[in-house]
Amino acid sequence: MKPARFDYARPETLDAALAALAEHGAEASVLAGGQSLIPMLNLRMARPGLLLDINRIPGLDGISLEAGLLMIGARTRHADVLISPLVRQAAPMLTEALHHVAHPAIRNRGTIGGSISLADPAAEMPACMVALGATLIAASARGERRIPAEGFFRGVYATALKPDELLLRIEIPAIAPGWTHGFTEVSRRHGDYAMAGLALALRREAGRVADARIALCGLEPAPRRQHAAEAVLVASGAEAACDALSAPDAMAGAEVTAAHRLHLARVLLRRALAN
């Protein structure tokens, strides 16, 4: 369990990092918190030619809330997002979800941008980004690019990021009046990747759901909005919405079948709506 050989660079500026990415492209792997990358290196599942360590670059972390927009630097550690009062105020879904992300030692190093860029289908952050309608801002030597979360996640470990792009920050519209956020998941042990997870934003009017945003993790190769279930929820209520959750591409493993995952997603939605 030793990594294959790689070169290592630790640029001091964003420009230097982007230049390195422009030069090495897909041969480079970006090292932020390393909580997924380092094990993958040791397992030789990841074999980058260059490990590009961005931990010395100023300005990649931090959380701010301005004009109804929550901005989180991509290199912000999970632990810092978790304890941020701004995040709790503007996107409480994230605060809830981060309690499910691994364990304190991992959250101390792991970053939100790393989780989003890796795009593990069972991870919590990608589903939250989709449900929250986040915009992901990527940079390359060619300039900055804004990517809506719904178009960002393409499959297992696959995103819209180009090989020369680095995720810079995340922009999330702050929770609007009347909306509530929730995140729940089922895992075998606390901190494990979810067998199924539910990111949910709701607006209620007179006790009825008037608007909903639903995304699941652990179901399909990439999180997506459950538009059909959202519409059914508004039109016909909770039970029908649970039935309307769909996962035609649900992943099946030795332990957990596709039907099992979809069942769990329905349990989560039913429970969330009952609360």
Binding site: M1, K2, P3, A4, R5, P39, L43, R44, V186, R188, R189, H190, G191, D192, Y193, M195, A254, E255, V256, T257, A259, H260, H263, L264, V267, R270, R271
Partner: protein
């Protein structure tokens, strides 16, 4: 016969272990903390397939990599190392083919070592592995033990007529008659999935062959250094005196580290071939793939009960998944025999029939793992007992109470051949009921059920065979020491240094032995230093297996300490011109009958060592004493206990949450109650892992291991462990001075059964039941009909 212990002594006190501070400060020295000058690092090329023919086609590219010293295959090691074959007189006809340190031409399990790279670093060695040219021809694999028995199943080893490694049938009494006259027969089929031990410190070896001395020194993360001294001497054709095995701090064993593994032997052979130190430390993937697994059984069992609710007989059929080989040297079949001997053990019954088929598979060998086989036998029994209680519409604890062996009925050899002696089921049950406070617990459960919660309470009665005597492996012809030895010596300053053949593997037995020596000699434990684990220093003996440290090692320590004390008192009496009987040794002071100090131990020792000219003529004190202990009666020391588990089942997600757990055990005299409680709690958590989480899974199509990392192999973590309440009854073993029996495995023995019974108690409200371990969410959801 129990000896009278000194009043106010150290035995029985819950002292924290003296070694804890060193370990928690990070000053432990585990295998990987040691280095040898000039060492080479090793990495193994392991079979990626469960069954394949292979050729190594190219080693040049790997050899050419800078830093690579050698790329070795089976033929290279052959001159330096013999092959071996697991045989046992206890299992006549056992089929387990010849094995060597590296596979030759065929591999029969995934993870089997086929080549070995030695390089300047582990990273370089792993780089070189990728350059070794191989030609793999994958062959059909047999992995499921039931399917492997079918006539058309692929052969695990080419050329063998079948995959049956061994079969037997045993028992006593008229089973057919018992079932014929039974008022009630209950039966079930239980499936147990492989799991493994996962010590924090993985296996590893640092072998250093000295060609000038023609001697091998091996640092090994192992439970039984003396056993390895025997086998390495045999396999490498060296006199035992020129093989030294050193086990330093050991980060857990659980039975994983009590076997002879091909990779460890290969490292020793490589060191001899290259005349250099060679180091290999298993990484976690290698560990999950190539450490022994355990407990793959399909049990069909039935139990006959008479009209009064008394158990008449058990009839059990076990299909055991053995792995590709029967583990060397003790044999994997031991687990199945242990499971089958445990069936019914807490109860009275008249007839027993056990049938066993041990099946070869293209999977890593299974072997002895904590509480060997017992959890299988216990869970099978307790499942049948609950079925019978339910059929009779009676309280499961009442059914157990009626059938538990009473103290007055002992000793008794049951129809399964288990000798039951000095057990305390009645007293233990009384303490168990006191601890559980059943009326209020039942009310609590009723209240939770009233809220719609699916909760269940399960019981498990436990008998464990501990502290194996010479009758266990001696008649089988396996060179396993059932003797333990302790040497104690008085130092000039009055300290006592002890050297023991018991092994400290993290369980804390060192502390228990120190307390025994302290009482036996008459000094404070802080003046006793114990050395273990080094065959160059510690006398020959058993090491750490079968919960033997207290019952056998403790006895040796007591004997050695008493001999030293007698020498000390004899010398003191001579100097003080009195008789030894007039003196006593307490806390390092020689005192008279009034308790007045006549001489300090340090003065006495200094006089003997440094001022011998002052000694009376003819006085030759022997300040080194040794004692070997071999039990002559009772192959095993049986212990007993009861466990209860309270669980909650989430019927929607299928998740099971253990809420509370109770254990009352009788392990005889407790040398250190704190250590015993730690062992019980740790064992229970390991049992909960077995019941709910841990599984070595293989792809049913291609036989590939699916649980190769700790993200897939789920260990119980702190938040999976409920509060565990522990109580004790002490029935000292009458055949020894101290009366200690085994304690370290009892928690693991009963916890899976208790959890299984608790889950089924919860599911009974939905008319469902589970009969498979681990009880995963999918198992629950299938039982409830939620999933197909």
């Amino acid at each position: 016969m129990n000896e009278l212990l000194p009043p106010g002594g150290w035995i029985g006190r819950p002292l924290p272990r003296a070694a804890t501070r060193r370990l928690v400060e990070g000053r432990g020295r585990y295998l990987d903390d040691h280095a040898a000058k000039g060492e080479l690092h090793a990495a193994f090329l392991r079979s990626p397939f469960p069954h394949a023919a292979f050729r190594i086609t190219d080693r040049e590219a790997a050899r050419a990599l800078p830093g690579v010293r050698a790329v070795l295959i089976a033929e290279d090691l052959a001159p330096a190392c013999r092959s071996w074959r697991t045989q046992s007189l206890a299992f006549p006809g056992l089929v387990s083919p010849e094995q060597g340190p590296l596979a030759r031409e065929h591999t029969v399990y995934q993870g089997e070592p086929v080549a070995l790279v030695l390089a300047a670093s582990r990273a370089i060695a792993e780089d070189a592995l990728e350059l070794v040219g191989t030609d793999w021809d994958e062959l059909p694999a047999a992995t499921d033990p039931v399917a492997a028995l079918k006539p058309d199943a692929p052969a695990v080893h080419q050329g063998l007529p079948s995959n049956l490694a061994w079969r037997t049938e045993f028992g006593d009494g008229d089973v057919e008659a018992a079932f014929a006259r039974a008022a009630l027969v209950v039966e079930d089929r239980l499936v147990f999935t492989r799991h493994t031990g996962v010590p924090l410190e993985s296996r590893g070896v640092l072998a250093n062959y000295d060609p000038a001395a023609e001697a091998l020194e091996v640092r090994l993360s192992h439970q039984i250094p003396h056993q390895m001294q025997v086998h390495l001497a045999e396999l490498l054709d060296l006199p035992m005196g020129r093989v030294r095995v050193i086990a330093g701090d050991i980060g857990g064993g659980f039975g994983i580290k009590m076997h002879v593994y091909p990779d460890e032997v290969a490292i020793c052979a490589a060191s001899r071939l290259l005349r250099r130190p060679v180091r290999w430390v298993s990484d976690r993937i290698e560990a999950l793939m190539a450490d022994i697994h355990a407990r793959e059984h399909v049990m069909r069992a039935r139990m006959a009960v008479d009209a009064e609710g008394r158990i008449l007989a058990f009839d059990v059929d076990d299909i055991q998944g053995l792995g590709a080989y029967s583990i060397y040297p003790r044999s994997s079949t031991v687990e199945a025999i242990s499971a089958l001997r445990t069936v019914g053990a807490p109860y009275r019954f008249e007839a027993y029939r056990a049938r066993l088929r041990s099946v070869l598979q293209n999977k890593v060998p299974t072997g002895q793992y904590r509480s060997v086989g017992h959890p299988i036998g216990c869970a099978t029994t307790e499942r049948l007992v609950d079925l019978a209680a339910a059929a009779r519409r009676e309280d499961p604890l009442e059914f157990r109470r009626r059938n538990l062996l009473r103290e007055a009925e002992l000793p008794w050899t049951n129809p399964a051949g288990g000798r039951m002696a000095e057990l305390s089921h009645t007293a233990t049950l009384a303490e168990f009921e006191r601890l559980l406070d059943l009326p209020s617990l039942r009310a609590e459960i009723a209240a939770m059920r009233g809220e719609g919660r699916l909760v269940g309470l399960g019981f498990a009665a436990v008998v464990e065979y501990t502290a194996s005597g010479p009758g266990a492996y001696g008649p089988a012809g396996i060179p396993v020491s059932a003797v333990d030895t302790v040497v104690v010596q008085l130092e000039p300053g009055g300290d006592v240094i002890a050297r023991a053949s018991v092994a400290e593997i993290g369980q804390g037995i060192q502390q228990g032995i120190v307390q025994v020596v302290a009482d036996a000699v008459g000094v404070s434990p802080s003046r006793v230093t114990l050395h273990t684990g080094d065959t160059g220093n510690a006398p020959h003996g058993g090491g750490a297996w079968a919960s033997r440290g207290a019952g056998i090692g403790g006895e040796a320590a007591w004997g050695a300490g008493r001999k030293l004390r007698a020498e000390i008192l004899g010398a003191a009496a001579s100097l003080l011109q009195t008789t030894p009987e007039a003196l006593d040794l307490r806390d390092g002071q020689v005192v008279d009958k009034t308790g007045a100090t006549r001489m300090t131990l340090s003065d006495l020792a200094a006089t003997v060592f440094f001022r011998g000219h002052e000694l009376p003529g003819g006085l030759q004190p022997q300040f080194t004493a040794t004692h070997q202990f071999r039990r002559e009666e009772d192959v095993f020391l049986t212990t007993n206990g009861l466990q209860a588990s309270l669980v909650e089942v989430d019927p929607d997600t299928g998740l099971v949450t253990p809420l509370r757990h109770w254990v009352v055990g009788d392990c005889g005299r407790r040398l250190n109650p704190l250590l015993v409680d730690e062992q019980v709690r740790g064992g229970v958590v390991q049992g909960i892992g077995e019941a709910l989480l841990e599984a070595c899974r293989y792809d049913p199509e291609n036989g590939q291991l699916l649980t190769g990392t700790l993200a897939d192999y789920l260990l119980p973590m702190a938040d999976n462990a409920p509060d565990i309440t522990v109580g004790h009854v002490e029935t000292p073993y009458s055949g020894s001075a101290l009366g200690a029996k085994g304690a370290g495995e009892a928690g693991t023995c009963g916890a899976p059964a208790a959890v299984l019974c608790a889950v089924n108690d919860a599911l009974a409200a939905r008319g469902a039941a589970v009969t498979e371990m681990p009880i995963t969410p999918a198992v629950i959801l299938r039982a409830l009909g939620t999933l197909p």
